[in-house]
């Protein structure tokens, strides 16, 4: 069986950045595996701009952003196997690759999981009514329109205010469809505030909060939907049912990290993020298996996914060199009051950590606190906190000296 030093599974922003970084820091035996013909992951279908503001200090489209990495990939002569799917992953870090070229089992010393995420479907949210054509998840519609050149419908209702849905509201409008409304069951949007402005408000598309679709009509093609207002407990308010005629329903109701392979290999998955449980070296419970990007937790910006890929490259290198000493003990990081999740999930206390977290609902004028029981390690004032925006807080190893527990919370 062929053995490689590092195999990266998935060539989206995270996997690409990780591959380039590994080469930059001197790891020579790297294989990047991607199931699509084209590298770049989700960004290939994101033809709008706004990518790269952090990493390249300019606003690029998705494909342009990817091109920057692909150029460097070529320059470094990095070994890429595209059109190749990792179909099985095993605990011993071997895996089966399959593509039009054939099928083979290989092994790696270190693996970086960078498989991205998939969309939550109509079935998963228990969408009621009939099952006509014309119900698309927003990402699938984005791909069908932007890559495959198909128009998915004319009169559109969007359920869920995730970013992909917001971006598609604008895209569909520009292409001549009528986007009638965006419905969101929560009292706030789950997409970035700037997308609400740029994709809905600028085009006069209404966003109805605390509202959801209760029934889909149409046997062959969508003919309309019934929607209702929700009370503070999220229960439908009787009598508030309304009907709107449409031929298309787009769903933007959440992304799920793609961890079937990880599970198969025995990687432990976190119940909230849906991604692997990792320590402060981004290693999973399996030695030498790392995770970065949307496979770990859903990022709101591609730039962050890439940065995570680069960070993981550093840890993978040190792992190969045997320098990533095992921690004497692991401290579980607790997501305290107001926090939905925080990453990494385990820390050694011996390393600087940039904690990444999301809040559980919007807050104004609060403190983010990192503490060990009653001892406050770090405290930072924030004006606005929104669940759609990933936040971070840096803590140095000196600040964590002697800690016994660690909790991040909003106060």
């Amino acid at each position: 069986m062929i053995e490689r030093d590092v195999v990266i599974i998935g060539a989206g922003p995270a996997g690409l950045a990780c591959a380039v970084k590994l080469k930059e820091i001197g790891v020579s035996d790297v294989l990047l595996v991607e199931r699509e013909k084209k590298l770049g992951g989700i960004l290939n279908q994101c033809i709008h701009d706004g990518f790269g503001l952090h990493n390249f200090k300019e606003s690029l489209t998705g494909p342009e952003y990817i091109e920057r990495y692909v150029e460097r990939l070529k320059k470094f002569n990095i070994d890429v196997l595209s059109d190749t799917m990792v179909v099985n992953l095993f605990q011993d870090k071997s895996m089966i690759l399959s593509g039009p070229w054939g099928r083979e089992r290989i092994r790696a010393k270190a693996i970086v999981l960078a498989m991205g995420c998939r969309e939550r479907t109509a079935g998963a949210i228990g969408l009621a009514g009939s099952r006509p054509a014309g119900i698309y998840t927003a990402g699938v519609a984005q791909r069908l329109m932007n890559i495959d050149n198909y128009m998915v419908g004319n009169e559109v209702v969007i359920l869920g205010s995730g970013d992909v849905g917001l971006i598609m509201a604008r895209r569909l409008t520009l292409e001549g469809a009528r986007v009638l409304m965006v419905l969101e069951k929560l009292p706030y949007s789950s997409g970035l505030p700037r997308n609400i402005v740029q994709c809905l408000e600028d085009y006069g598309i209404p966003l109805y909060l605390k509202t959801t679709v209760t029934k889909v009509y149409g046997k062959a093609r969508v003919e309309g939907v019934e929607y209702v207002s929700l009370d503070d407990d999220g229960k439908p308010i009787p009598g508030s049912e309304r009907f709107v005629k449409c031929d298309t329903l787009l769903l933007s109701v959440g992304l799920i990290p793609e961890n079937e392979l990880s599970r198969e290999a025995g990687v432990e998955i976190h119940p909230i993020t849906g991604g692997p449980i990792v320590n402060d070296t981004y290693q999973t419970n399996i030695d030498g298996v790392f995770a970065a990007g949307n496979v770990l937790h859903v990022h709101d910006l591609a730039d962050w996914a890439s940065m995570e890929g680069e960070l993981v490259a550093e840890f993978a290198k040190r792992y190969l060199e045997g320098e990533l000493s095992k921690a004497k003990r692991w401290i579980d990081v607790k997501a305290g009051k107001g926090i939905r999740y925080v990453l990494p999930h385990k820390i050694s206390g011996e390393r600087d950590v940039n904690f990444l977290f999301r809040v559980d609902s919007p807050y104004k004028n609060r403190y983010i606190i990192v503490r060990d029981k009653d001892r406050v390690i770090k405290k930072r004032r924030v004006i606005n906190l929104h669940p759609a925006v990933m936040e971070n807080i840096n803590v140095k190893s000196e600040e964590m000296k002697g800690i016994e527990s660690l909790e991040v919370m909003v106060e």
């Binding site: 998939r118 079935g123 998963a124 228990g126 009514g129 054509a133 046997k219 093609r221």
Partner: protein
């Protein structure tokens, strides 16, 4: 002129076509939908019933027990995925235990093999891990699970391979009998003729009977909703778990938990009478109820395990409130010779299909001698599953043909070669659902999010589909309103 015209290409119609294709007969199947498994035959529990629910001596009892045996041969010939899982009915109190004994008695009288009432919590959990607090169970070793839509497709395609003509998108709207010949007309005005006419129109069987001129039947559509759980839970469930049958709706077996041969777990079906014979809907109330009732029977899943919901519609010959036993109607109508009516073929209709087909053949044989066709090929020559091959064989194949190496559906790991075989199906069924049922793509946890665009690309590049050619399932279920950009 056809010797036999079969109206309805579901499992029953196609089983009859398969059975009759052994003989030198010209046979036509008329199906109003664009494919054969869009009716009840693609929307059910997929359980090979043993036969202990039905009144001894009834057609249901006899045909189910006979079908259960014969079907095992068919599964092999037709490459239909089947698992001899056995099944349990759980009892949670002494009243229910009494019901178990009653059912065992019925089953014994019907000739069902191996039925056993098992008492004691531990023993029940030994037979069926996860049975929880049940104090007793009826264990039925002859029960199993299979893929009902693959059965229907394999029957139809094998019948087709043996010369049966399938007319899809062909709804028979008018029938006249003149000089011993049935003259049929479809919705487009096309005409067909046959000497024998068989009504296997499922939930429309009473309506079709009327079209032919036999009144007096009525079908009351009764919807059964299901939830489908992620196949990651499959290792936890060895066999179908049923409650003691519901007393609310006549003939309904109660919400059960059933493994499927593909892996996902079914919860359902509910039982609601509705007006629309095609009201395939999921409703919030029932989805909640299924979740709760399912959880009572088998508390090993959570909301996020639900990957989709769907429903099927029973062709019940009795109205709401009627709880007495009612049987299949399978007979040649005296008033219209050579017209064979099949009405009220609800559960165990799938299990009974081979026996129903045998009965229909015998009805014909009473009047004419059927001549064996020497070159009849009983085996289904398609439908191989790549994922089930050994790793060595997979590697060998992937070298041999790039289409074996290219994986199109990542959830079910379906290769491009399998997708293309499904597209090139002999019935020329052209919908996306036809590909889904044949290749199992778009059925897993991502529900086509990954592979649907890839399948669209194959259809466009290799089969020349235009935007307007894409259809999800029923007529009118268009996917695209056109191109985005006029220039390419």
């Amino acid at each position: 002129m056809f010797d036999v015209g079969i109206v309805g290409g579901g499992a029953v119609g196609s089983a009859i076509a398969y059975e009759l294709s052994r003989f030198r007969l010209k046979i036509a199947v008329f199906e109003k939908e664009p494919d054969v498994c869009f009716g009840a035959s693609g929307r059910n529990s997929g359980v090979l019933h043993a036969g202990f629910y039905y009144r001894p001596g009834s057609l249901k009892a006899k045909l189910c027990v006979e079908g259960n045996k014969k079907m095992r041969e068919w599964f092999k010939l037709l490459k239909v995925p089947f698992k001899a899982t056995g099944k349990v009915l759980l009892a949670f109190d002494e009243d229910e235990v009494k019901e178990l004994y009653k059912l065992k008695e019925i089953g014994d009288a019907n000739g069902v093999e191996g039925l056993e009432v098992i008492r004691g919590r531990d023993k029940v959990n030994q037979i069926c891990p996860g049975a929880g607090e049940a104090i007793a169970c009826l264990y039925s070793p002859m029960t199993g699970i299979f893929s009902s839509y693959l059965l229907t497709i394999a029957l139809a395609e094998t019948a087709h391979q043996n010369g049966v003509k399938y007319f899809l998108n062909c709804k028979i709207v008018d029938v006249r009998k003149e000089n011993g010949t049935f003259k049929l007309k479809d919705q487009r005005g096309e005409r067909y003729e046959c000497r024998w006419l068989i009504n296997s129109a499922g939930v429309y069987s009473a309506e079709f009977s009327k079209i032919v001129g036999v009144n007096g039947y009525k079908i009351y559509p009764c919807r059964g909703e299901y939830l489908l759980l992620d196949k990651a839970l499959a290792p936890l469930l060895k066999m179908p778990i049923y409650p003691v049958p519901s007393k609310e709706v006549g003939g309904a077996l109660g919400v059960h938990i059933t493994p499927t041969v593909e892996g996902p777990i079914l919860i359902g079906p509910s039982a609601e009478y509705i007006d629309d014979p095609e009201g395939y809907e999921s409703t919030p109330e029932i989805m909640n109820k299924l979740f709760e009732e399912g959880y009572k029977l088998w508390p090993y899943f959570k909301k996020s395990d639900v990957i989709r919901s769907f429903s099927g519609i029973r062709a019940k010959p009795v109205p709401p409130g009627e709880k007495s036993f009612f049987d299949f109607v399978i007979k040649e109508e005296e008033s219209i010779p050579n017209f064979i009516n099949l009405v009220g073929i609800e559960s165990p209709g799938l299990t009974s299909a081979p026996a129903i087909a045998r009965m229909v053949r015998e009805i014909i044989e009473r009047k004419e001698k059927l001549l064996i066709k020497e070159d009849f090929e009983p085996r289904y020559l398609r439908g191989e599953r790549f994922e089930e091959l050994s790793e060595e064989e997979k590697e060998r194949r992937a070298k041999e043909d790039p289409k074996w190496g290219e994986i199109i559906c990542r959830c079910e790991k379906i290769t491009k070669r399998e997708i293309i075989e499904a597209i090139e199906n002999p019935l020329s069924a052209k919908t996306l659902a036809s590909i889904k049922y044949r290749a199992r793509a778009m059925m897993g946890r991502c529900q086509g999010g990954y592979c649907m665009p890839k399948i669209i690309e194959i259809l466009e590049r290799e089969f020349g589909y235009k935007p307007e050619d894409f259809q999800l399932h029923k007529e009118g279920s268009w996917l695209f309103s056109g191109r985005m950009r006029k220039d390419d």
